[in-house]
Symmetry: C2
Subunit: 136 residues, 2 copies
Amino acid sequence: MLFSGSGALQEVLVNAVAGAPDAAAPIDAVAAALEAAGAVLQQRRPFALKRQAVIAASTELRERELIKLASLASALADALHRRGATGPAATLTAEAGIAVFRVAFERWVTERDERDLPQLIRDSLADLKAMTAGSR
Amino acid sequence: MLFSGSGALQEVLVNAVAGAPDAAAPIDAVAAALEAAGAVLQQRRPFALKRQAVIAASTELRERELIKLASLASALADALHRRGATGPAATLTAEAGIAVFRVAFERWVTERDERDLPQLIRDSLADLKAMTAGSR
């Protein structure tokens, strides 16, 4: 679902986290990073759709994608640590961010929807907030 | 990190989601499921630690674990759908739940900590709530 190598996408994510305002909460730094990555993918939508179709058809490639996403989550967590976030909370924020990204990406490639990827990412993050706020 | 086959753990998760009160929010049904799975693993802590050490030492086994966790997330999402949750929100709830579980499990196997796994799961879920509530 990502770039040919996930290196470029990881760079976009990590740089965006590093460049977020000092006062930004970790989740907001991650949100900014995901939106930045989403904007890049949005500009390459035809390529992204083609790549996704190839991946969807192969169990092995789908597994590779899971591994790449886990690497991206680790890179995000490391970037949060460098901003001073503490261990488990940084990891959780990064993992939750990647979950938001995955759901948004899935909608972007499968739904007949006018929304672009950065908007879907914002919507998914809003869903996550609503979901946790609605808890007991 | 899980049972020898992840089938047994998946069954615990899916049954707990199915058995949650009708009025429970999806995130609370998932929380109950994760705590139930955590309680089972807690009873088998020495085995779980041994198994985790084997997995941590092997890139291939770590990748297998990622795939299993993705399967568990899918099974959780399906169980939420059967409770009437809608598509993307159910997927996001399941994915976020698995992120909570992963972080709690990681702490359980690595930290010198008195907390048991169900408690760590509750703490991680509280972290997720605090993290999203602290967002802009």
